[in-house]
Symmetry: C2
Subunit: 490 residues, 2 copies
């Protein structure tokens, strides 16, 4: 357990907040609800971006960039959309500051008031569909498969770093299609991309499902999502993919001439993941000793720390270190050799353990004389002495093992924490323990709302693989045909 570091058991919420700061991932800024993403945190986000961007391009998408500002009137065009976002948005009203009349400081210049207020985008459906109107004339112009990497602002009242911030970074895909079927297929395809990324890169097992109407994106006909379970038994929505139907096409008058020579409204999807994924990553794997990172997203996968006395030993250790570094780099493994004199080995051990570097190699001069090195893995906190022979192959294999082990551990935890619950009494007991509860629900928003009021639990999703099964709603006893997933959530 790291020194002066609160445990998950003691206070999970504080553990998370401290971990984010002490592992140098991010810090709160002077601007309410906005964070500074520090270099170490940003390096992880960059690795996420690279992996996702590659998958987006492999599935035929192109990046583009749309304006940060959205005219207020655009916002008003899609009724549900504005309802969903108007309450928490940053409004630009002036385009100049000027000296106050009393000469003390600056104020928005009264002569520079905007004719129409601009909203800092909370999401870009409106400005993008206004743009698509000019791009789409006929079915030949479809599909349009665009993505943008951008910052967005939602004026959340209660914020937490990565999980819920006023400004956050994300990608938002916005696609336009000829038919409803094609748009739904796209919606599901991108959900699969997100699920693949979460499981294979983040090592976070997720459940794919569709949201109940209450939890749908403002303006969508259907919201698909991936849901992950954090170590405190709360769920975290890690990505969403929306089938928008023709809502935005109608709001922005985007029609195309179909193959049958008819003017029809275009079908839409949008989908996004954000820096919230950083929160999911941190909370899924880390422990009371600090961060645990899956090798595929760790900025530094291997750290090498030398132990020696005197110049002769130093030269010997250095030469081994240099060889191992270049072998690992040739295999595409990122390695750091920390030979700083100003810090003791023990201090370095703690530092890299806390920062979640997956593999630590200790090169001790005395071990090396016997052809041995010590290898420690961050996920299990175990270490062993192994022969230096073929070390880089062993490390490569070890990184793969760690990636798999982290995933399996998280999967095991989720399975242990997922229960079928069949009565309201049982629900009240189990929801306090956390985890996913698979329950029958009568399908009404009222019941979902009531359950939320009583227990703070919401329907995370109706799993795509939920099997048909007759049952009774846990609250109302009304008939139900499949189980949905309840949980308290971030």
């Amino acid at each position: 357990m790291a020194k002066d570091f609160v445990t998950r058991q003691e206070n999970y919420s504080e553990w998370y907040n401290e971990l984010v700061v002490r592992a140098d991932l991010a810090e709160n800024s002077a601007v309410r609800g906005c964070m500074v993403i520090k270099p170490y945190g940003y390096a992880i986000w960059e690795k996420m971006q690279v992996a996702l961007d590659k998958m987006f391009k492999e599935t035929g998408h192109q990046n583009a960039y749309f304006p940060l500002f959205i005219p207020k009137s655009y916002f008003e065009k899609e009724a549900e959309h504005v309802e969903g976002f108007a309450k928490e948005c940053a409004v630009v009203t002036h385009h100049r500051l000027s000296a106050k009349s009393d000469g003390k400081g600056l104020e928005p210049d009264p002569t520079a008031k905007l004719e129409e207020e601009l909203i800092v985008r909370p999401t870009s459906e409106t400005i993008i569909w206004d743009t698509y109107r000019g791009w789409i004339k006929s079915y030949r112009d479809l599909p349009i498969l665009c993505n943008q990497w951008a910052n967005v602002v939602r004026w959340e009242m209660r914020t937490r770093m990565f999980l819920r911030t006023a400004e956050f970074l994300w990608q938002e895909g916005h696609t336009a299609h000829e038919t409803s079927e094609e748009a739904i297929e796209e919606t599901k395809k991108m959900l699969d991309v997100y699920a693949y990324f979460a499981e294979n890169f983040m090592a976070v097992p997720v459940i794919k499902g569709v949201k109940s109407p209450n939890e749908r994106f403002a303006g969508a006909l259907d919201t698909y999502c991936i849901e992950a379970l954090m170590q405190d038994g709360k769920a975290l929505q890690a990505g969403t993919s929306h089938f928008l139907g023709q809502n935005f096409a109608k709001a922005f008058d985007v029609k195309f001439l179909s193959k049958d020579n008819k003017l029809e409204y275009v079908w839409a999807t949008s989908w996004g993941v954000s820096t919230r994924l950083m929160g999911a990553l941190i909370m899924s794997h880390s422990d009371d000793n600090g961060l645990v990172l899956p090798p595929k997203l760790a900025p530094t996968q291997v750290v090498i720390i030398p132990i020696f006395k005197g110049e002769e030993q130093k030269a010997m250790v250095n030469s081994h270190a240099e060889r191992i570094c270049s072998e690992l780099r040739a295999k595409g493994i990122s390695v750091k050799y920390d030979d700083r004199d100003a810090y003791k080995p023990g201090w370095k051990f703690n530092e890299y353990e806390f920062k979640g570097v997956p593999v630590r190699v200790t090169l001790g001069a005395r071990d090396l004389e016997q052809g041995l090195v010590e290898i420690a893995r961050r996920d299990t906190l175990t270490k062993e002495s192994i022969s230096i022979e073929g070390i880089s192959d062993k490390i490569k294999k070890l990184l793969e093992d760690i990636q798999e082990n982290i995933y399996n551990k998280a999967l095991h935890f989720r399975e242990e924490s997922t229960k079928e619950v069949n009565s309201w009494e049982e629900f009240l007991v189990e929801i306090e323990k956390g985890g996913f509860l698979k329950c029958h629900w009568d399908g009404t928003p009222e019941t979902e709302e009531k359950i939320k009021e009583l227990t703070k639990a919401t329907i995370r999703c109706i799993p795509l693989d939920a099997k048909e099964e007759e049952g009774k709603c846990i609250l109302t006893g009304k008939p139900s045909h499949k189980r949905v997933l309840f949980s308290r959530a971030y």
Copy 2:
């Protein structure tokens, strides 16, 4: 010359605006002064980002992310800085929209007025130096070498796509150092990175120099810049690197304990390039037939277009095309095989010519029977029939030739357009012709201002390689020791 496309000679400004739109690079959005960067334009920007980001990391920098919003009071802390940016900034005053009392639409909610207005960052020195205060205690914490890729907003009154937009994309490096010398070295190092990028990737020759006080960044002690010359004889500032001295450290109280155990203010630099580079790229090389792109930044470097009759010929052409594509891709060359039936070869020729694809390969069934293919290069608009033998090696070589040729052409143009001017009469004549004028100047802001008033020309820079030479100011006749570079500018 492309159909219905204005020539540079007829109207250079209109030629540029049309080119940007018709080559699918960008378009104006519904939001005043903000553009939509379309996928083709964004793909070029992405290639720029990748190349620059690699160079930043190779020179020891890390990426991070700082808030979009800057509290008004931060802005006010550095006097010159606020003077430079307060007149053209987007001011956020409210965090909610609510229904108007008459029920017609939304307005900024009067109960959700911010206590302190937030400015959408026009540049991030203030918020970053406020953050650095928490990161820096001792010389051991220095240097800090951060960069961020971000959007910024400057409320320009007259905007042009890529060249001057209210919102633009850029990177901004912000570094903190122990000594003045180290900070100046960093400033110059990043200028060299920019110059290398401009010349070796963009194929745009640039002059490295330092700005006169009038043209300095608001808050800098010295602004270094790279200046390029566009085809209409106007200069374009393509990147700047600022030595900020201790101004921001003093404004935000950022001190460190030095090796001598003294508390000292930290030394700073900042440096940036933006989507303005897209404007420089477009205007440096393109012609009356459309875009001309240097191979290193072209999203598609080679396009292959088939010509055939009947299924048998089609199969034969396809098999050649597939082989060439996979050979080129193995060499890291991006290639597109456009076998769409809906478009005729002639239409495709025009399309890719207009979009500046460096090399076009025409695979004609009849040519192929003789072992020949036709290769056209975009820069010279020449084509030749060559043997298909070793085709991918030839294309690789050709791409290198094109990169070099484009650069040399631009360099030749700049050299032809750079003159030494020794009298005011001569200056008045030459400035109308465009180009860089190397002139003596008496070193005063007043003279520079006067020359600008009279001719719209400004000092682009005092070239770093300007040699010591006695002379007389072209306007005032006062003594001068080196020539500076005058030009009208974007």
